[in-house]
């Protein structure tokens, strides 16, 4: 065995011991716990005053503040005989057997028993390591960051970036051979997911594969770094650490999204990371050049404001102490890789963080305001500040008014046009109108569905739409055979047109499935002879237990997003239905009626056969007319959005942000963390463990947040940049150079490549000027990143866990990438970005407002315009998510209360259940199937190519193609009469889409 191999063996075996908590270690820990929690307090309180180095003169020459002290003992020899209490002088003394210690007041029996037990079990004493001088080498992270030269290597042609030298040097030293480069497909998919969280598109794939120049790689990386998806993805890494959520417990806070958008923008703008840190911790205290910048600086401090606060805690000093504790914990772990919070109740057990340092930091945060008691009842809320209004000069102001007028005029004209168009359709006596936004699933036998809908009051829109007594709405569930499975006719409770006094009535009905497959829903006028008006429906929902199959709010037209008030007539609604047994494009004339502020009911007006024909495009003329109508309708919606935005511009805006209290203060130590037990006062300051020479001077009139932020990013701080670049490395390579990414303390893992870590830290700080994008760019263009993830028997034997990076780690997609990429691949990803995601304008989405005990809560309805956006724009609660977002916890998405630098990655059968059966996944398979059919016509081979490119980022291998086609052929093609049914083949493709979409080919980055 050569030396290098030998070293590896030693290295690996040492670590193996560390990873496996042995029985012995467990016992050690128990002893340690006993010593620290029982023995040490006793020694400190009863013995130290006379027998310690701090005592003026150690009595009898005996000191008990280190194990060395009692081993050596005083004038009477060793004070303790480990394992033999009866022969230990200390025990004899406390028993008042000869000596009488402590003099005056004998220990309680239980206290004596503690000492006896301690000595009997071997007198565990770890006080050397408790002192502020940890074992040599243990605190590597506190040593100054070096700037090592890239080492010499043999295989120089392998090098691209300096990073490669460090990696290759270690590989060569250990007789490991770097893996061959990944093929272009695998590399492109890897880098696209790593940088943007999405899959490469077929065009991006073919462009890259066609470009054989070396610069092809560079242009891909630059394109990805410049795409908005970069911020969407990397901001999410930041939210894993910053406990971001949109809803505080379940109560409402409307403005968190501003912080979310700020972070995304910061990553996309490549804001220097030191500046990013300063702004988040102390933005409100920083100078600014413009109103825009002032707003940004205020919003940035949402970093500290937003967190898992128990705002209903009615013991407010406790709430304050807990918030401060979390803020300290977050900063400690995120930037310093330290568990400072441990020092809340006692000096840190193994890292050099005394309780004093904790309360020095606590003073800073107690001098800053996060929440206040606002009511109702016991509740506090996160403090919001009004943002300064963006300046509007006169010119802009009048331009806006002109714009508003123009828009209103155009809107009026278009509406008139639409009205005219509606009237060209002859009335029909047997019109049907269909509304169903999605398939109603699986209707197995005996499953009970509950159908509920709100029937709205009617309000006049035009004279010919008056409602008559006896008019009704009919909702029918149609089974696979086209039969009406359930018919619910509703005569609205308040049918008469009462504009002044509108109200809704709810109708609930149930249906028990007959096992005959999919259901669709049809809504028609209940009175077929009615030329006028069918009624109005506000919300429709079909559910079975918790499973929601259909949910339609009608708060917006179903085909396109429109927010805000629509209390006008003349709105066009297009409803498309795409199911095998009820194909067609329906159109109906409807009115959106405001039935309560901000909420609308859609009045369904009769459609007609003629319209259906028209929409099916029977004649060229009809097609053209329809196209015109759709354009007009779309334009109307745009106009209204713009008008709404113009109106909204004038509203005051708020952000959660921090401020200092008027008279900042130092705090006292809370003994044992209890705010009722005050110890000494500690001046505000920072930890002594790194850049000690830079002692913090906090002006008396400031909290110290600004100074803290500057201290974090000072050159002398040995932790922050190491911790940050290690996080970047972790996200790109699947494991940090320090694998315990949130913990760089004594019990953390040592870096696998210490020189490399220092090299990247220095480059990040000095050369790249804290640029995250530049740092990522260098890393992903390296040959290290380009290696394939293929195994190699010899290497596997030597370094089975790939610690030295002889190949790329194979990684599963993150929860949000699984969701986002599924939507992207199926063609339904909504690329809209930014803004509030709570849909507060939806009826019922603000619950319990105006109560005197509890604040309003968020109703949890996700607006249509948010539903298919990327995960980072979805509303995030501190409760388990429901609906489509259920996927997140299933795949280890972190709980928003937790600080999670490295997500655990588990494989459990519940994930497979989700992938096989969840409505979300099935819907994506359906959509994907539609997409590949639309694109490929009847060419099955082209269709398969497209499917593979979309899902796996590469064409299928020969055997995969064969396997796939064999699968298609294995499914039935003929109906009961033996006739080949093309629908069956299409369904088989859907199963193939589903299968591939949940296979490892999709789930893993190779």
């Amino acid at each position: 065995m050569n030396v290098a191999t030998c070293l590896i063996v030693v290295f690996v075996s040492i670590l193996a011991t560390a990873a496996e908590p042995s029985e012995k270690k467990v016992n050690e820990l128990a002893k340690q716990k006993f010593f620290e929690s029982k023995v040490l307090p006793l020694l400190k309180s009863k013995c130290y005053s006379c027998h310690s180095h701090d005592a003026k003169q150690a009595k009898g020459g005996l000191v008990l503040d280190s194990s060395e002290g009692w081993k050596k003992g005083g004038g009477l020899g060793p004070a303790i005989v480990a394992g033999d209490p009866d022969n230990s002088a200390v025990i004899q003394a406390v028993r008042y057997n000869g000596l009488e210690m402590p003099p005056g007041e004998q220990l309680e029996d239980s206290e004596i028993q503690i000492l006896v037990q301690w000595i009997a079990s071997g007198a565990f004493d770890n006080r050397e390591t408790l002192s502020t001088q940890p074992a040599e080498g243990a605190l590597w992270a506190l040593k100054p960051i070096s700037n090592p030269q890239p080492p010499k290597v043999n295989m120089e042609k392998w090098l691209f970036d300096s990073v490669d030298s460090f990696i290759l040097a270690k590989l060569e030293q250990n007789d490991l051979v770097p893996a061959i480069p990944a093929d272009k497909y695998a590399w492109l998919r890897r880098v696209t997911f790593d940088l943007t969280g999405l899959a490469p598109t077929p065009t991006e794939i073919s462009d890259f594969v066609a470009d054989s120049s070396e610069s092809a790689f560079i242009s891909v990386v630059d394109r990805l770094l410049d795409s908005p998806g970069f911020g969407d993805h990397w901001a999410r890494h930041w939210f894993d650490l910053s406990c971001y959520a949109d809803v505080q417990n379940n109560t409402l806070i409307g403005d968190t999204w501003r912080y979310r958008d700020y972070v995304i923008k910061a990553f996309n703008d490549d804001k220097p990371f030191n500046r990013f840190i300063h702004e988040q911790i102390a933005g409100d205290l920083m100078p600014f050049d413009s109103v825009e910048q002032k707003r940004e600086l205020m919003i940035a401090t949402g970093y500290l404001s937003i967190g898992p606060w128990v705002i209903e805690n009615y013991i407010k000093p406790q709430l304050a102490a807990d918030i401060v504790d979390h803020q300290i914990d977050r900063i400690g772990r995120t930037f310093l890789g330290q568990t400072i919070s441990c020092a809340r109740c006692h000096d840190h057990k193994f890292d050099p963080i005394p309780t004093r340092d904790y309360y020095a930091l606590a003073g800073i945060f107690h001098s800053s305001l996060t929440t206040k008691h606002t009511g109702p009842g016991v509740w506090s809320s996160i403090i919001e500040h009004e943002l300064p209004a963006l300046p509007i000069d006169d010119e802009k102001q009048s331009a806006r008014q002109r714009r508003q007028k123009d828009l209103e005029l155009e809107l009026e004209q278009l509406r008139a046009e639409m009205h005219k168009w509606y009237r060209t359709f002859p009335d029909s006596t047997d019109a049907n109108v269909l509304i169903s936004s999605q398939g109603m699933a699986p209707n197995s036998e005996n499953v009970k569905y509950e159908l509920s809908f709100d029937v709205g009051p009617t309000v006049w829109a035009a004279a010919e739409q008056a409602t008559r007594k006896g008019d009704s709405i009919l909702i029918e569930l149609i089974d696979a055979a086209g039969e009406v499975a359930k018919r619910i006719e509703t005569f609205p409770h308040q049918w008469a047109a009462e504009k002044e006094n509108p109200s809704l009535t709810k109708n609930v009905s149930s249906y028990v499935g007959n096992g005959k497959g999919m259901l669709t829903m049809r809504i028609t006028s209940g009175n077929p002879g009615n030329k006028r008006f069918a009624g109005s429906i506000d919300n429709i929902e079909i559910r079975s237990g918790d499973e929601v199959y259909v949910q339609e709010d009608f708060d917006e037209p179903v085909d396109a997003p429109l927010r805000g008030k629509q209390a006008h007539t003349g709105l066009l609604v297009l409803a498309q239905v795409n199911y095998d047994n009820w194909k067609g494009l329906g159109i109906n004339h409807s009115h959106a009626v405001e039935i309560s502020p901000g909420n609308l009911a859609i009045q369904i007006f009769s459609g007609s056969r003629t319209i259906f024909k028209e929409l099916e495009g029977d004649t060229e003329e009809a097609t053209a007319r329809l196209a015109k109508a759709i354009t007009t309708a779309t334009r109307i919606k745009q106009l209204k959005i713009e008008l709404n935005n113009l109106a909204a511009d004038k509203q005051p805006e708020y952000a959660m942000s921090m401020t200092d209290i008027p008279q900042p203060l130092d705090v006292n130590i809370y003994r044992r963390g209890d705010f009722n037990l005050l110890g000494e006062q500690v001046p505000r300051g920072v930890l002594g463990l790194t850049n000690r020479e830079q002692r913090l001077v906090v002006p008396t009139n400031q909290s110290g947040r600004l100074q803290l932020a500057q201290w974090l990013t000072a050159d002398a701080n040995t932790l922050t940049s190491r911790v940050l670049v290690n996080r970047i490395w972790h996200h790109l390579f699947g494991r940090g150079l320090v694998s315990t990414v949130d913990y760089f303390g004594v019990h953390g893992q040592r870096p696998s490549h210490p020189d490399l870590l220092d090299f990247i830290s220095t480059r990040f700080r000095v050369d790249n000027q804290w640029s995250v994008k530049q740092t990522i760019r260098q890393l992903v263009l390296s040959n290290t990143y380009r290696m394939s993830s293929m195994g190699n028997e010899e290497n596997t034997r030597r370094d089975p866990d790939n610690i030295l990076l002889w190949r790329m780690n194979r990684r599963r997609l993150s929860a949000e990438s699984i969701r986002d990429a599924m939507l992207q691949i199926s063609g339904t990803l909504d690329t809209a970005r930014g803004g509030s995601s709570l849909g507060l304008e939806l009826e019922g989405n603000i619950r319990g407002a105006g109560g005197d005990v509890n604040p309003p809560t968020w109703g949890g309805k996700i607006a249509q315009y948010v539903k298919n956006r990327r995960t980072v724009y979805q509303p995030l609660r501190r409760h388990p998510p429901s609906g489509d977002l259920e996927i997140l916890p299933v795949f280890n998405f972190p709980h928003p209360n937790d600080i999670t630098g490295a997500r655990p990655q588990t494989t459990v059968a519940t994930q497979a259940l989700f992938l096989m059966n969840a409505p979300f996944v099935k819907a994506q398979a359906t959509n994907l199937n539609l997409r590949i059919h639309q694109k490929s016509g009847n060419d099955e081979s082209a269709r398969l190519q497209l499917l593979y490119l979309l899902v796996t980022g590469r064409p299928p291998s020969e055997s995969e193609a064969e396997l796939s086609l064999r699968f298609l052929d294995s499914l039935a093609m003929r109906d009961n009469n033996g006739i080949v049914n093309p629908v069956f083949r299409r369904n088989a493709w859907e199963q193939l889409c589903h299968g591939l979409l949940v296979s490892n080919n999709f789930l893993f980055k190779e």
Binding site: A19, D898, T906, H994, S999
Partner: protein, 468 residues
Amino acid sequence: MPSNFVHRRSFLQRSACGFGSLALTDLLLRRPLFAREPTEEKPLQPKPTHIKPKAKRIIFLYMKGGPSQMDLFDYKPALVQGHDKPLPYKLPSLEETVGLDDTKLMGPIHGFSHRGDSGLYMSKLLPELGKHADEMCVLRAVQCDSPNHGVAERQLHTGNLFDVTPSMGSWISYGLGTENQQLPSYITILPGEGERNYSSCFLPAIHQGTAIQEVGMTPGRAPIRHLKDTAVAEDVQRKRVDLIKALNREQLVRLESDQQMEGVIESFELAFRMQTETPKLVNLSNETQATKNLYGIDQTDTNQFGRQCLLARRFAEAGVRFIQVTLNGWDHHNKIREGLPKMSRQCDKPVAGLLTDLKQRGLLDDTLVLWGGEFGRTPHAQFGDGREHNPHGFTMWMAGGGVKGGIAHGQTDDFGYHAVSGDVHINDLHATLLHLLGVDHERLTFEHHGRPFRLTDVAGNVVSDILI
């Protein structure tokens, strides 16, 4: 013992869901990964205990919302006397409160009587449960550290107020494994919202509580989330699973073996088996009518909770280590005179039925039943006809495996507000539960974030007075 007992038990033990190997790989990236993770072959295999166990399993009847102790178990003559009189004590000055302006004492809303040979005082609202007084070990001075639902609930379930830590069921599963490899070690029946309370958190995912979300009241509804794909015929589903496996295998051939990917492949096969086997677990049709009546399944008020309790017995019988049953609705801030009798009706018969049934099957000796909420309520009225949360001293009770019956441990003050003696903090409760199961709470640890964690954090004393 009924003749079908063995049959049913062996059925449940045989039902081949393979939960025992549910967690196929568990790569906790935040734990050191330098060395190959010791992948336990069978992480749920029964493990040796530190001391001789008195109980083999726990059924925790969780009364969510905080039941009123002075109306149910903690009889206070002074409170009866003091009804509608001004408070003889001060409210804590640091607490912001609501609905307590001009609050007065409120006597128990219903009569009490002595029950059993032991003569335990219990409310007449619990007539059936009273028949088991001599088996009950009532803890009258339980304490927790927060008056807020979310936080107190977390403390009760995880021992921890704020940090994200594993629930006690997960700790117990981790420490002891389970007797039946075919079932999850930890099952929670109708937990409602509150996934954090049965989360394995940083412990391996196999120790996560499995939520049963349907107890046979809605025909066709799956007992476990996403268990079924009802739109696709079963043979097509089978072919689809085979396709997924074939696609994954094909990839592995190309790449070489990969532990994590192999885990995924296996997970699909297991999931497919679960689809067919799991519904049988919650099917109560082979229980006798007499048994169903015992739990009140024949009555509207008790149908749902009765089913939950009966399922709990079935799971206990089958060897599940920790079973939680949740009954929500005890948060009576107002109208307690209507609300509490209603909840008591829902609770009384099923719980009494469970104790009877466990006893007649010989299971009560090694099954510990624990009943209680996240906190209790105040002796003074809130909004005139309700009671506010009270973490300072409230009642929980245990029965069965290893605890004395017919005793009351601990005392609150004259009004039932604060514990005055024999207090049992949640950490003590957890230490005691672990002790009964044979586990030393100070030795059940897990390394996380660079330090060992345990259910009882740095506290907890076993309440030895109540042990047999």
